[in-house]
């Protein structure tokens, strides 16, 4: 399944109004990062930046379904543009993940050894700001679902789980009197962030690439479509060919039907309208084209 989008604000001002708390917290995290130089905090900040960039890009590019379909510049809608943005963000996340692993490997001996318990406490407090924010977003997700793009609100749960996990690690590291334990906990945190970034980037890139290259629909969706078409057996037309692709959240379905040559287009159009309804039930929001042959 690709990203499904409901409605989103269309201006930078609106996106800023929604995301200013995140931006402010990231600025604080970055400030603490620049003083402490701690890799764990760098990882948390990188993850937070990646999430906010993804959300804001998604918000800015997504319009309501109708305007997304009828872009003046892209006559087939901006689904592919959405996926190109997703691909660019996935590339950014992938590079961030690789950078974190590179930094982790090169700083493995020094990680945590330079940090005093006070430094660790400060890092734990700074991270707590973003953890609190992700918890608030999770609690408020139902309201946000109405104004935010649906996948952003949907992802709130996973995001909160990730930040709570990181918070637990850094809190234990700050409370631990054993330096080796603290170091191991922070290393685990950095590794977890890097892996999450890499996995999320690969998943997102795969979906984006498949859409960009006009790959056929995934097996489940294709099965749904075939089932619907298999059930649709009117006497007047015969389905002779189907091809489908996806561009972002919009599936494009092209059906070729063979009709009785002496039949009028009035009757044919009624049957085609029923066919369209059936396909729309299986694939809501799809762009359906029916070609008629005699």
């Amino acid at each position: 399944m690709t990203t499904h989008v409901a409605y989103g604000p269309s201006s930078i001002a609106q996106a800023f109004a929604l995301y200013w708390p995140d931006i402010a917290i990231i600025a604080i995290l970055a400030l603490v990062c620049s003083f402490s130089g701690d890799l764990f905090l760098i990882a948390v900040t990188a993850h937070a930046i990646a999430m906010v960039v993804r959300d804001i890009a998604c918000l800015l590019i997504c319009k309501d379904p109708q305007s997304r379909r009828q872009s003046t510049r892209y006559e087939f809608g901006i689904g592919k543009l959405e996926q190109a943005v997703n691909l660019a963000i996935a590339a950014m996340e992938f590079l961030l993940g690789l950078l974190l692993i590179h930094m982790l490997l090169s700083d493995l001996d020094e990680l945590g050894s330079l940090l005093s318990p006070q430094d660790l406490s400060l890092i734990a407090l700074a991270t707590l700001l973003y953890t609190m924010r992700s918890i608030v977003v999770f609690i408020d997700r139902r309201r946000l679902n109405q104004i935010l793009v649906s996948p952003i609100a949907y992802a709130a749960k996973n995001r909160m789980a990730m930040f709570v996990f990181l918070q637990i690690l850094v809190t234990f590291a700050a409370l631990s009197s054993n330096k080796a334990v603290a170091e191991t906990l922070l290393t685990c945190g950095v590794l977890a962030v890097a892996l999450v970034l890499l996995l999320s980037a690969m998943r997102q890139a795969r979906l984006a690439v498949l859409d960009l290259v006009d790959h056929p629909l995934d097996a489940n969706t294709d099965h749904q479509l075939q089932t619907v078409l298999g059930r649709f057996v009117p006497d007047q037309i015969v389905i002779v060919g189907v091809r489908a692709r996806r561009a972002g959240s919009i599936p494009f379905v092209e059906i070729t039907v063979s009709a009785n040559p002496h039949q009028t287009l009035e009757l044919t159009s009624h049957i085609i309208a029923e066919l369209r309804e059936s396909v729309l039930e299986a694939l809501p929001g799809s762009d359906i084209v029916v070609r008629v042959r005699s």
Partner: protein
């Protein structure tokens, strides 16, 4: 399930021409890399990187050509133009990134005035580059002899790429030979850096060109305004025989263009009459414009939006 087919002897000869040229490049790129690292010559290293990246394009083109000849890309029901474009995009990005990497090293080397390559090393590098230039020339001759007027765009693109490679390798060969003969190490350093910078510039420009050609098509950009104008003119010319055009939308997918037309038709029109008109229009459009795929739908007055 797509049915595969056996390629004809002519198709096989085209595949062989592309494959032999790619294998020859592969054989020369390995010593080029070894020499580049051993002599620290920027020109050789950058040329090796460029050849290696172009080698990826060659093997990919070979794979696509084989798949097309054997009907193995039927899974892509809307054509595999986008697949080609996406590969071009990735290769373009890699070319640009490596071009900047080489340019960065060339500038760094010049600023430090650090001549790492020895005259002997440069001479050996010049010999290897000479072999590369010879392979490029032979590959071009082989491709020309297999070429026909109706060749696929992939094969035509391969011939074009081989020509560029030949010119680039000849320039690199000249730079390296002069650098190897120069008695002053600073002159040799400058020539080596200039050779590297030339290859970097070629990489960056071809990378950007590949990217700029790929991105609009990948995003379902409409056809070029000239093509659109041609379609409009043709539709107005055929107007008496067609009904009113209700909608027209287009998108590009590599060398293919998809055009979707919808017409207003009378309710009592028969299916055979509609098909006769739409087939005539489709044939006229396909005759006028190359590599175009036309889809025609209809609307009846009462039912409104039906087929589309």
């Amino acid at each position: 399930m797509p049915i595969t087919r056996q390629p004809t002897s002519e198709q096989k000869s085209k595949e062989s021409a592309v494959l032999y040229a790619a294998v020859a490049d592969l054989l020369v790129v390995i010593p080029m890399f070894a020499l580049g690292i051993a002599t620290s010559s920027l020109t050789v290293l950058s040329e090796a990187v460029r050849v290696a990246l172009m080698l990826v394009v060659e093997f990919y083109s070979y794979a696509i050509l084989r798949a097309v000849h054997r009907n193995k890309l039927e899974k892509f029901r809307f054509g595999f133009g986008k697949l080609e474009l996406f590969c071009n995009l990735v290769i373009g990005l890699t070319l640009v990134a490596s071009g900047f990497w080489i340019a960065d090293h060339a500038v760094e080397r010049l600023l430090e005035s650090e001549a790492l390559a020895t005259p002997l090393g440069l001479a050996v590098a010049a010999v290897v580059t000479g072999v590369n230039a010879l392979i490029n020339a032979l590959g071009l001759v082989a491709m020309y002899s297999a070429a026909r007027a109706d060749d696929s765009p992939i094969f035509r693109a391969q011939i074009r790429a081989r020509k560029i490679k030949l010119v680039a390798s000849l320039i690199v060969l000249t730079t390296l030979t002069v650098a190897a003969l120069a008695s002053d190490p600073i002159v040799a350093l400058w020539l080596d850096a200039l050779g590297g910078a030339f290859v970097a510039a070629v990489q960056i420009s071809s990378g950007f060109r590949m990217m700029s050609e790929s991105v609009p098509d990948l995003l379902d950009h409409p056809v070029a305004s000239e093509t659109r104008k041609q379609v409009d003119e043709l539709l107005s010319k055929l107007q008496p025989t067609t009904s009113d055009v209700r909608g027209l939308r287009t998108r590009r997918a590599g060398r293919n263009a998809h055009v979707e037309l919808s017409f207003d038709v009378e309710q009592h029109t028969s299916v055979s009459e509609f098909c006769r008109r739409s087939e005539a229009l489709q044939a006229a459009l396909e005759e006028e414009l190359d590599d175009i795929e036309v889809t025609i739908n209809f609307h009846t007055a009462e039912a409104g939006r039906n087929a589309r």
